[in-house]
Symmetry: C2
Subunit: 375 residues, 2 copies
């Protein structure tokens, strides 16, 4: 599986990282001189971007000027042997280069063309650029994130980019499944803004059912209670008692079986309506001991719960380690760099703890040209 990757920064590179982790060969095609924008976004180690390196591990790189005839000829040779082309320019850019879907599909009918853009290739915003922050703001997720009265709150990672990368990867794989049957490729057109709408789930259901516009809910689920961060004697913990049976177990574990018998809290709907009162009761019980104690007790009762980990704690969790979710890539200059692993575990497929590093700009030019018979 050969993927040509014209993408920059995050949504597209995240998509092609997922494909590379699944075994695809990914050739990054970068603008000569500067390369992918994210080579210039920190944090840096010995002048190299750790951010770039973590999202581009295991890929190859060739620098091509898609406005120059010599490099265009190389690009077109690559198109002739590729399965997938991925790009995340703003809409219209590929058409200006003469490489839009309508140009490519007749010449390369098997090629799957995937575009991950801010707003998609149709509609009034089709030529506008966007970044993660813009679609987090426009798509509604920021209106649901944070505490009532707090200033706007961004989701702490780039879910605008990442969900677009994931939906694009799904679309590419779906097109590959179909192509195995038909021999013909499709265009996959994914918009970051669309993906933000697609992940609003419960918030849309609440709005269209009640007409009330959902606001930020702090640290609790809007429709399931108790399902929230609770204060203990020395910090915080998550408790997620998603149904009546779990709520009874929780009440017992807290030494408060009366809560499960209280008509105020007799169903999830009632618990949600009376969430503030229930929180007060639960936090009164939790105040008698610290988080470590309560995690043990609540977990032993079979109720889903957990700590609120920072990034260091999350990476050090024994489950995360066992699942090989922290891998390293050995960069020739920096040495082993730790980064997130691949969460798609496939039976019979190796999941190596070490990956090939991200390429230097244009590092694979000679080898790629030789393969194409152009060296």
């Amino acid at each position: 599986m050969l993927v040509l990757d014209l993408t920059r920064v995050l949504a597209g590179p995240y998509c092609t990282m997922v494909l590379a982790d699944l075994g695809a060969r990914v050739i990054k095609i970068e603008p000569p001189g500067v390369g992918d924008d994210s080579r210039h976004i920190g944090p840096f180690l010995k002048g190299k971007s750790a951010y770039f390196m973590s999202i581009n591990r295991g890929k190859e790189s060739i620098a091509l000027d898609l406005k120059g005839p010599a490099d265009r000829a190389i690009f077109e040779r690559l198109l002739g042997v590729a399965d997938v082309l991925v790009e995340n320019y703003r809409g219209g850019t590929m058409e200006k280069l003469g490489y839009g879907w309508d140009d490519l599909h007749p010449r390369f009918p098997r090629l799957i063309y995937a575009a991950a853009s801010g707003f998609g290739h149709t509609g009034p915003y089709r030529t506008r650029a966007a970044y993660d922050m813009v679609v987090q703001g426009m798509g509604g997720i920021m209106s649901l994130t944070g505490h009532p009265g707090s200033p706007p709150t961004r989701v702490g990672t780039s879910v605008g980019d990442i969900t677009a990368g994931l939906f694009t990867a799904i679309g590419i794989n779906a097109a590959l499944v179909e192509r195995a049957r038909t021999g013909v490729g499709r265009k996959v057109d994914v918009a970051m803004l669309d993906c933000q709408v697609a992940i609003l789930e419960n918030a849309i259901a609440r709005y269209v059912s009640t007409g009330q516009v959902p606001g930020p809910l702090g640290a609790r689920h809007p429709s399931i209670t108790p399902f929230e961060a609770f204060r203990t004697a020395d910090g915080w913990m998550i408790i997620a008692a998603g149904n009546d049976g779990l709520f009874r177990k929780l009440a017992d574990a807290l030494g408060r079986p009366d809560l499960a018998a209280d008509p105020l809290f007799a169903s999830n709907e009632l618990r949600t309506r009376n969430a503030a009162a229930l929180k007060t009761e639960i936090e009164q019980a939790l105040a008698s001991a610290g988080t470590a104690h309560w995690l043990e007790v609540v977990d032993a009762a079979g109720v889903p719960c957990g700590p609120i980990n920072d990034v260091a704690q999350a990476l050090a969790d024994p489950q995360v380690a066992t699942r090989n979710m922290v891998v390293t890539a050995d960069d020739p200059e920096i040495g082993p760099l730790r980064m997130a692993g691949n969460p798609i575990k496939l039976s019979g497929v190796t999941d190596p703890p070490t990956r090939r590093p991200a390429p230097a700009l244009d590092a694979d030019r000679a080898a790629i040209l030789a393969e194409l018979g152009l060296a």
Copy 2:
């Protein structure tokens, strides 16, 4: 493509919704009597869960007791004709039923078995249950979300479930691509906690590069500046000037070309180091007019920007409408229910504005049994 769907609530049902949107036939297999837990999670319309309906549109339903011999026989007949089985029980549940991968793969070698669980099927937590809140807490994203000093902040939608659903869908499609070549299915084992680690991206890069544990950053990007929510005369707006060229355009648009010439702000790295000072300057400029004015001016300058929409505003956006990102399903009792559309737009594939509604519990039993010759 026939998908058997044993999943409940969100991660699994979201995955199979994506597959259904791509054209798969999805048969939900639900416990008799109660059905999917999310049938009992609000908001409700005429006693039916709008939440359940929005995630399960276009699926069929049959109620099977997987502990009873008659229904087990039906289930096994279905396994014989299915392409994919998806479940999101806690680890070990399918083995207790006699339907673990080691049981199924020898009998149904073409079947792809996908498990989306809280912690995955290996490691010390493999039999523990989790919900979205638990993995949002454990996986680190909550430590990055919110304002410094604020209480813990949940991401406003269930990214713990949704990202696991998306990675599972990618894994299933990848296994289908491979099966087209080999004829053999694989097990796809996706853990919600793993997916949370997989989306930390920049935060891991910062931590492993600097040793400093990243904290919440309010509404700004950690490594790109200006890339944040800014106050205007009458509200807020997002400005995302992701590189030097965009920053110069922004400075001009704000009537402050001096900012682009200021050595404090000469590169993205310097702007990030001096983010607070830059924010003050930008908000001084923005204070002279309201959000609507500045959106027009900054957009006209070619700098990515946008409003912070609530859910109602997001759904009403003309781009969202043009992209068919709000679809309806006509429920026989409730009438048309609005919900998010499919963000994977494929050339030549219809993207209908109306979808089949979610099924009533066991609604398709007779038809499915007849198809299997069991009626």
